[in-house]
């Protein structure tokens, strides 16, 4: 059971180009508008659970230039500044976070050959996107582009999953009351190893479709309370 049910947060990215200056390169990067409209299971969809949208700050000058050149929308030569000016500060960015479902085949194991300098086996991550997640991603990207168009974007892009992000590691020591289907109890205490506690997002049973930090902090506090409560008993369990 340990290492199984690895869940990540597959991410999609949506971008809209607007004629007016949005000043979108200013401000903090984090989420300024969030939507949970598509968060819950909707029986009309061909997938279970859902996703969230998070509107982000737009790209800064370098990112604007890099992506513009890559997409051949900013050229080299005498029209460079004009092309750049058409995009800079006029791009609205949004990410979609998908709720990954637990799948026992998505797992972390110990590598049989690779070891660190102390001889500790390296972790080996086996993970692939499930059919449910792929369908959800298609739905989210399509909806994201619709949203940008409805907001007045004259052009939009959507792509995912983004390989470089969404690596929120969850689920590999899942919490539960039954030792045959879980690794730790409701206070993060291992079913099998006395006095071993897990206090991070590994104990999540579901991934949700939002960043996990607040939840894992709450769980860590709960586990800490449990440890404080059990402190006098450690060694006798």
């Amino acid at each position: 059971m340990v290492g199984r049910n690895l869940m990540l947060h597959p991410l999609g990215y949506v971008e809209g180009l607007f004629h007016e200056d949005l000043g979108s390169h200013l401000g903090p990067q984090g989420c300024c508008i969030a939507s949970h409209e598509f968060y819950e299971t909707n029986e009309d969809n061909d997938f279970k659970r859902g996703y969230s949208f998070q509107v982000l700050r737009g790209p800064g000058p370098l990112e604007t230039a890099m992506s513009g050149v890559l997409r051949r929308e900013i050229s080299w030569g005498s029209t460079h500044h004009e092309d750049f000016g058409r995009r800079f500060g006029k791009i609205a960015s949004m990410t979609t976070i998908l709720e990954d479902l637990p799948d026992p085949e998505n797992r972390v194991t110990l590598d049989q050959t690779r070891r660190d300098s102390r001889g500790v086996p390296a972790p080996r991550v086996s993970y692939s996107l499930g059919v449910n997640t792929k369908r959800m991603l298609t739905h989210a990207l399509t909806n994201g582009r619709k949203l940008m168009q409805a907001a007045g974007a004259y052009k939009s892009y959507a792509f995912g999953p983004i390989r470089e992000t969404g690596w929120h590691l969850m689920g590999t020591t899942r919490m539960g009351v039954d030792p045959s289907t879980s690794v730790v109890d409701s206070f993060g205490r291992s079913h099998d190893v006395p006095n071993l506690y897990v206090a991070d997002s590994s104990v999540f049973v579901t991934a949700g479709a939002v960043n996990p930090t607040s939840t894992l902090q709450a769980i860590a506090l709960r586990v800490a309370d449990g440890i404080a409560h059990d402190f006098g008993k450690i060694g006798v369990r």
């Binding site: 390169h25 000058p61 370098l62 050149v69 080299w76 005498s78 460079h80 500044h81 309370d225």
Partner: protein, 131 residues
């Protein structure tokens, strides 16, 4: 590849330290080889001296001789963009340069706890546990 824009006070791409970025990415020597090759090919194809090309000639060639330019553009392009758009003069020109209170920062006089006011108002973020 990036001309100057006098109206916005933007320098041309040769005025930013692109060499540093090429060296940083370990492709400086290779780029020089590609540039020399490009120069020869341009001369062979058009009879023009690459170094003496006007902006208009460069624009036309870049469109018409894409294949010849490709290796250089692929190598120099990202480094040039990094050098150009992180350059303080360019950043000021496009309106993202330092703004007050930067670059000096906010001066805090001894005994002035104004910056800590939100922390004071928020109160403690820890909680006591039952012992």
């Amino acid at each position: 590849m990036i001309p100057a824009d006098d109206a916005r006070g933007l320098p041309d791409g040769s005025k930013v330290s692109v060499e540093e970025f090429l060296k940083l990415e370990g492709i400086y020597e290779q780029t020089l080889v590609h540039l020399e090759e490009l120069s020869h090919q341009i001369t062979a194809a058009t009879g023009l001296n690459f170094i003496e090309l006007t902006q208009n000639q460069f624009d036309v060639l870049l469109k018409e001789q894409k294949r010849i330019f490709e290796p250089v553009v692929k190598q120099v392009g990202p480094a040039l963009l990094k050098a150009y758009y992180t350059n303080p003069i360019v950043q000021n020109g496009i309106g993202v340069g330092d703004k007050p209170p930067f670059p000096e920062g906010k001066l805090v006089y001894e005994g002035d706890l104004e910056l800590l006011e939100p922390v004071f108002i928020r109160g403690p973020i820890f909680r006591s546990i039952e012992s």
